[in-house]
């Protein structure tokens, strides 16, 4: 574990008051290794280490009796500072109706998260409506209908004639405005951030539906690609939050750091399983410990 590795690297420094460059570098190499093994993007890791180094030298960590503990403390502080100092739930401010738009790459967990959000809102005494614009994936509507039925949540019906995703989105909004529902959770087709046409469609969709929340639903196991992924989605549609799914696995989740760094957007919720109730508010300090392993 990182704590032990730092202890090892700085063992000979302790209590001697003698700072050897080699020891300091060894310690930073261990921190870098921990971050990279946790899937933090290598550029984000580099920038992060610079900040830690500055703080560590400024606080004269390497002159302390327990430099390893001090250094680890600074790493933790910096991680929490980056991940956000406090938990942040959805911000559905202002008068209803509200629209929550879910976006992300294929298989990240959007449809499942849509159902989870519906339950989450119901528990807050809100009246959510679900809808999907995914006309591509086979049985996408059936998947959402099945999930919604178990929760007693209504899904905006597609009707007989095949429509485009944009038309469906507009229809759902029009329906929302004259309905008794206060929130629309809109699920979309998975798309590669590299797919220009689909990213353009997303921009148009956002313009037409004016969502209060645009949530990137991202897989906690995502690797280095997380930086480009989050950056591209954010640049295109302006994210208001991130939902990190499959956190019930053992992925360290360093992608959270990369995505936060490049977008500045908070991770609001995490998916912790396949059931509708498996949605929790994101806790930065827990994530920091998880990333460091």
């Amino acid at each position: 574990r990182l704590q032990e590795r730092l202890n090892e690297a700085l063992r000979t420094l302790k209590g001697t008051g003698v700072i050897k460059e080699g020891h300091i570098e060894a310690a930073f190499r261990e921190i870098r290794r921990a971050l990279l093994e946790a899937d933090v993007h290598f550029q984000v890791a580099r920038a992060f280490l610079e900040r830690v180094r500055e703080k560590a030298l400024g606080q004269r960590v390497f002159e302390s009796l327990t430099p390893d503990q001090h250094l680890l403390m600074i790493v933790h502080e910096e991680l929490k500072a980056l991940l956000g100092t406090e938990a942040q739930d959805l911000a559905l401010k202002g008068a209803p109706p509200h629209v929550i738009l879910l976006v992300g790459v294929q298989g990240s967990g959007k449809t499942t998260t849509a159902a989870k959000l519906a339950l989450h809102l119901k528990r807050k005494r809100l009246e959510p409506l679900l809808a999907t614009t995914d006309v591509k994936r086979p049985a996408a509507l059936e998947q959402l209908l099945t999930l919604a039925k178990a929760l007693n949540v209504h899904v905006y019906p597609w009707g007989k004639r095949p429509k485009s995703p944009l038309a469906l989105a507009e229809e759902a909004i029009d329906f929302l405005r004259t309905s008794r529902y206060d929130t629309l959770i809109l699920d979309t087709q998975g798309r590669l951030h590299a797919d220009e046409a689909l990213m353009k469609e997303l921009v148009q969709m956002k313009q037409r539906i004016q969502p209060k929340e645009v949530l990137l639903v991202a897989d906690a196991m995502t690797g280095q690609d997380a930086l480009k992924l989050a950056g591209t989605f954010h640049e295109a549609v302006g994210l208001t939050g991130i939902v990190l799914t499959k956190m019930d696995g053992d992925a360290r989740g360093g992608c959270a750091l990369s995505m936060r760094e490049i977008t500045g957007v908070p991770i609001k919720l995490i998916g912790t399983g396949e059931r509708p109730s498996d949605l929790e508010v994101f806790h930065p300090e827990r994530m920091a410990s998880r990333i460091l392993g």
Binding site: R33, L36, E37, A38, D39, H41, F42, V105, Q106, G107, S108, G109, K136, R137, P138, A139, A140, E142, Q143, L144, T146, L147, L192, H193, A194, D219, M221, T222, G223, Q224, D225, K228, L229, K246, D248, G249, D250, A251, R252, G254, C255, E274
Partner: protein, 274 residues
């Protein structure tokens, strides 16, 4: 720096970044670079070093050869496994189409009896490839559906049985037990049982742990790496080859049924370093 001639002082850093950013992982990257460093001649230029690195990557991938040609010669049952959302169902039908193209009779078993819309999704995709599907009754267990599918497989004299399974995290013991049970049911048919692990190229180091756990639980012949049509490089397959000797058989490069490529180590290595 320039490509030819004297090695830039930071050549190792540059190569390390290229490998790390491709999700090769810290340990595998450093093993590769250490080995590269040992082989370097005094006079090597950067272009030469890059070429050597590429050769090394190809060698790692070829060390566990993917006998993709003869894969489907025998009558067999093949389980398609992997974590949630990795692309199993889509890949399975792509594979069915590929095998049918070789003149084999393929049967699909819809053994994801858990997820909403899973069976319908498979049926619609299978319909597009004109591949028959055996699905169970509601509430039937995956093993029971598999058992029925094996019956049909035998009765109809089919060549290849491809089994769709529910996505599962390797950390969930009861789900791993379910997979082991499915393997036993498949083996009881008397046909050889193969297992293909579907990995999403956008995953990081956790894919290596997935491979370790799934191989330990039910074994695997090889990997299918999906979503390679994005910007992710799937470099974790190097670490998987080095540690587990597991080869990559196919690449998934899109959502349509033709989007399945035979894995080629050289073009893969080239793309990884580009």
């Amino acid at each position: 720096w320039t490509g030819k001639g004297q090695l830039p002082l930071d050549w190792k850093e540059k190569l390390e970044e290229a490998l790390l950013s491709a999700d090769v992982g810290y340990r595998a990257t450093h093993e590769i670079l250490a080995s590269l460093g040992r082989q370097l001649a005094q006079s090597a230029g950067f272009e030469e070093v890059q070429a050597m690195l590429m050769q090394q990557i190809v060698a790692i991938l070829k060390a566990s050869p993917a006998n993709t040609e003869g894969l489907w010669d025998e009558r067999q049952a093949c389980l398609i496994i992997g974590v949630n959302g990795s692309g199993k169902t889509t890949t399975l039908v792509k594979l069915a189409r590929h095998i049918q193209g070789k003149g084999k009779k393929v049967l699909l078993a819809a053994c994801d009896t858990f997820r909403a819309g899973a069976v319908s999704q498979l049926e619609i995709l299978a319909g597009r490839a004109a591949v028959p599907v055996v699905k169970g009754e509601p509430k039937q267990s995956p093993s029971a559906v598999l058992y029925d599918a094996i019956r049909v497989f035998e009765a109809q004299g089919m060549d290849t049985l491809l089994v769709d399974t529910a996505g599962r995290l390797h950390t969930k013991a009861p789900l791993i037990e379910e997979l082991k049970k499915m393997r036993r049911v498949a083996e009881s048919s008397g046909f050889p049982v193969r297992v293909l692990l579907v990995l999403d190229a956008t995953q990081g180091q956790n894919a290596l742990e997935q491979a370790r756990q799934f191989v330990q639980a039910v074994g695997a012949q090889g990997v299918i790496l999906t979503k390679m049509d994005g910007t992710a490089k799937g470099g974790i397959v190097l670490a998987i080859a080095m540690e587990l000797g597991l080869p990559v058989y196919f690449l998934g490069v899109g959502e349509d049924l033709e989007d399945l490529l035979l894995f080629d180590p050289s073009s893969y290595a080239e793309a990884l370093l580009s």
